[in-house]
Symmetry: C2
């Protein structure tokens, strides 16, 4: 029997101004589904895997074909219903309703674990949608660079008056996600010293210009940092070494970075963290043959690294856990004050979420990079005072290559998103852009996710696990006229640990689209502002008042 | 400090043709919210509790007032957002969008248990919405009578050619829910012998005419049953006794009922099931003082009763578990073949669900019983051949008194619901009815619930726990233009064990309403047909084909 999930086909989205479907509102999901499986975008497109382990765009290749076929047939008052990557129904709705409604990987809580999911998945009854894989709005690695950039920028705002010139960040790990750190730091105006034990990871980042220099010597790395920070030059260096050795050594020398964090894969003590005194080769070999031994040694080393991080923190250096669970590991190793420093979401992302700011993104359905450059320019015009955004746009254009359909991410919030959407729609209408654009965001956004170990960790009122919010977000976006809406479970942190919603809207240049854009791109970020206002954040309440939100039981 | 959930106010819904809000689409939720708290409807209205333990209509009295106030202000293109009984936002949508969007009691799966819920509930951060409590479409005890009636009718169809005349049902328990059994049996045309140990429960049902006779003698009870069945008369008798004694005794005597079931509270072995040889007084006292002793004795007796039920089953008597978990208890007592007979959902309800048939209901916003009688008549006209439905309507009118706003329940499915909705809308338009009606259903319906211990027990393909379906149901109803839509967790079976969606639509007599009614009352039951067709039920596939549903990956 052939595996219904394997194929050797290469899928590329159609580009250009001509329709393959009956309207742009159905052409848009068609192109974005295919874009998710574009060979330059997806991690394993032949198995329908987009990113994040097994995050898929469709359940099987047959389902993929049926989705495409359905979108080609769909009328302007019809909606396609997709259940865990399978197109189950086409229903009559109306022109202001979404054209596609999606639910992926949702399980009744008592059964919401990997074992049960895997059983259903094996039977062909389910699909893991991750966040933007099954909801057709993944656009490659630009996202992680931008997320890291925003984190560093917010740290800069909180601790250094918004200016990271002459500042430097100490971190560990240059892997799949962590490799974005030196580039993001430089974009944010800071220098970066990233400790990486595996020279191959560092070399990969050198080749793609995500990091500027490489060295095996701590002295040399520190000398570079001293030189660059003095000159106000933003540059980065990869230091080949073990973070558990280097962090304490830097502390001992009395040197104090301006920000400290870490992205080694500490969450996985067998395969993710090199124990002190081991070679990388020995580590990889023993991870197979003696996993318990590796784990024990790795955990002991993590404790050493966290001790140094706590010491930096206690000396007043802004220090955060970047979601790799290293504090928990150290705590379990007996380090009682391991949680002395905060996680990056409560520290830096939450203040953004309070204003509805999160990973807003758009893609040019034309396939033409010029369309994105024109929107970049429009963003600058409409947000003339947002210097750090201008900086991001310039740096992104210069240093990040497009993958698949040209796209752009930038973190903007309530009050700005709808203005950008309306302006893009106008550009489509008057022919400035060669075809419509789609506008969406990650599920990891201000009002669209409940994930107590990450996005909603340590909410002020303790409402971390309340998932009414993402469900309401999806209902509100559906009622506001988004082009497609999705409800997922288990993205980011795995089965049982998160519920989240996605939204995408197509700016096709029509008046109808303008009305929908105005509603969706206002209500969607607003839902993040209420969620945080309800939890008691003054920043969110202030934002709600400033924008005249009507929140009966929250603002009174 | 005063409890924000306690009050001595009595709430009654406004009645009559005049608006207290700006349109019927906002008047309808206002009246139905208040109706849920009507002293004749709610179990504990002063604490906002509607039914089902702690199922509430609003989180606090302040929230209740703010919901009312918000609905009074709401414009025709605005939507009120309610999070666990608290009105958090008013957003701009459009005229075909729902006027209210509700999410109640939803928790990220890993935290979805009573302990965490109770903690949040105590902090004022959550509310238990049950099914129709927090979604404002509970209408009193008519529901359980009708549900039981449909169960018995379906058993009659499956086993007795649709005619229960001269047949009799043996059951146990005349409590809150079980007390509906004799009335439902009689309505279905059958006789009923209900064994109840507590004479007070039987007397209550005698007074309200839910049961016809009472006796302490098995001989007398059997004599009555023999007489009535011979005469083709549908009547019922409560036998005061212990089901664990009576069931085996009837079996031993060689007497075979036509249907056997049970609604003692076997799910709760300490407080719910009288052990053999104990008096009711002794039982109640020891449940407090020696719960372990009671439990042990009760479980042993349950095993005895289930042995008798298995024996009836093996002799060919249709026998079902009515959702009280008595089979599980007997299994745990070592009765290996306790699950020889099926649960009532797979046996009798699922075939209805396959055709989108479930607890459809409507209420007259006028408050005038005549409006319901006129709709009863209209239902008969539109479904002239559905004899059992006519029977239900006649019996319901005769034997069930209205609670709060006059309302009617009847189980109809895909292809009928929208015709009734359109006809009612026409009756509102031409003045036959004194005011608009609202049309809704229980969350326990064909496409709207995932609950592996009850509604989705033992699905053909093993997809019991997949909750994409209720989420899609809510999204589709939102996209179709329902008046209010809700997404709940934990109703019926408790935290962690179910996810489900509600829908209500107002027939205000306008052309716009007609379009919405046609879409919503088609798509909503259709979603149940797909869900079951996808699981492999031929009945559902046949129904889908007969109604021309477009199910790309299911029907091919
Ligand atoms: N919460 C978030 O949003 C978020 C975002 C990005 C990354 N993360 C977390 O960050 C971690 C890294 O993610 P990734 O995708 O880059 O993982 P990865 O496994 O691809 O990379 C980890 C890197 O760390 C290096 N490393 C391991 N032990 C080391 C040590 N002792 N000293 C120096 N280098 C060492 C490895 O060689 C590897 O290159 C993960 O735990 C991930 O969950 C979280
Ligand atoms: N799955 C469903 O949809 C569904 C529907 C209705 C009821 N139920 C189940 O049915 C059961 C009954 O529900 P209820 O609300 O009526 O409960 P209840 O506690 O109000 O009533 C139970 C009745 O059984 C009687 N009883 C206890 N032990 C007995 C014995 N040994 N012999 C005779 N009578 C005995 C009690 O005196 C009481 O009147 C529950 O377990 C409930 O969960 C399930």
């Amino acid at each position: 029997m052939t595996d219904p999930r394997k194929n050797t086909r290469d899928v590329y989205p159609p580009t250009g101004p001509d329709l393959n479907t009956k309207s742009w509102l159905t052409e848009a999901p068609l192109r974005m589904l295919m874009n998710n499986l574009h060979p330059d975008v997806a991690e394993n497109p032949h198995e329908l895997v987009v990113y994040g382990g097994i995050g898929r765009a469709a359940r099987t290749w047959r389902d993929f074909d049926l989705i495409v076929e359905s979108l080609k047939e769909l009328e302007a008052d019809e909606t396609l219903v997709v259940q865990s990557g399978k197109p189950v129904a086409i229903v009559k709705t109306h022109k202001d309703a979404p054209r596609v409604l999606i639910a992926n990987s949702n399980l009744v809580p008592h059964w919401a674990n990997w074992d049960h999911f895997n059983e259903l998945d094996k039977k062909g009854l389910m699909m893991y949608g991750q966040m933007t894989a099954g909801s057709w709005i993944y656009i490659g690695s630009q996202g992680i660079v931008q997320g890291t950039y925003e984190t560093f920028m917010e740290a800069g705002r909180q601790h250094y008056g918004g200016d990271l010139t002459g500042r430097w960040i100490l971190t560990g790990g240059l892997g799949g996600m962590g490799g974005a750190q030196p580039l993001a730091a430089v974009m944010a105006g800071a220098c970066c010293l990233a400790v990486e034990c595996d020279e191959k990871s560092a070399d990969f980042r050198l080749r793609t210009r995500y990091v500027d220099e490489k060295t095996h010597s701590l002295d040399e790395a520190l000398e570079m940092i001293a030189r660059w920070t003095k000159a106000g030059e933003a540059k980065s260096v990869a230091l080949i070494g073990n973070a558990a050795d280097i962090f304490p050594e830097i502390y001992k020398r009395g040197i104090r970075p301006d920000i400290v964090t870490d992205q080694t894969s500490a969450h996985d003590p067998v395969n993710g963290y090199l124990p002190q005194g081991w070679s990388v080769g020995e580590w990889r070999a023993k991870a197979e043959t003696a996993p318990k031994e590796v784990e024990k040694a790795a955990r002991a080393s993590m404790r050493v690294q966290v001790e140094a991080m706590v010491a930096f923190h206690e000396d007043g250096v802004p220090t955060v856990d970047y979601g790799n669970n290293i504090r928990q590991m150290a705590l379990e190793e007996g380090l009682e004050n391991a949680f002395a420093f905060p996680g990056f979401v409560p520290a830096y992302i939450r203040p953004l979420f309070c204003r509805g700011i999160g990973p807003f993104r758009w893609a040019a359905l034309s396939g033409d990079p010029e369309d994105i450059y024109k929107t970049d320019q429009k963003v600058k015009e409409l947000l003339p005072d947002n210097k750090h955004l201008h900086n991001w746009l310039d740096m992104a254009r210069e240093r990040i290559s497009f993958q698949g359909l040209p796209a752009r991410i930038c973190w903007v919030g309530l009050g700005d998103r709808h203005r950008l959407g309306l302006a893009f729609n106008e550009m489509v209408k008057n022919g400035e852009l060669k075809a419509p654009v789609v506008i969406g965001r990650d599920h990891l956004d201000s009002g669209s996710v409940a994930s107590p170990n990450r996005e909603t960790e340590a909410m002020m009122d303790g409402s971390d696990a309340v998932s009414d919010w993402p469900l309401l977000n999806a209902l509100v976006n559906t009622a506001s006229g988004a082009t497609w809406v999705s409800l997922h479970h288990g993205g980011g942190v795995g089965m049982g640990f998160s519920q989240h919603a996605g939204v995408v809207i197509c700016a096709d240049g029509t008046e109808d689209a303008a009305k929908r854009l105005e509603r969706v791109l206002w209500n969607d970020p607003a839902s993040g502002v209420w969620r945080h206002a309800d939890a008691g954040y003054e920043l969110a309440k202030g934002c709600a008042r400033a924008h005249g939100l009507r929140l009966p039981a929250i603002l009174g």
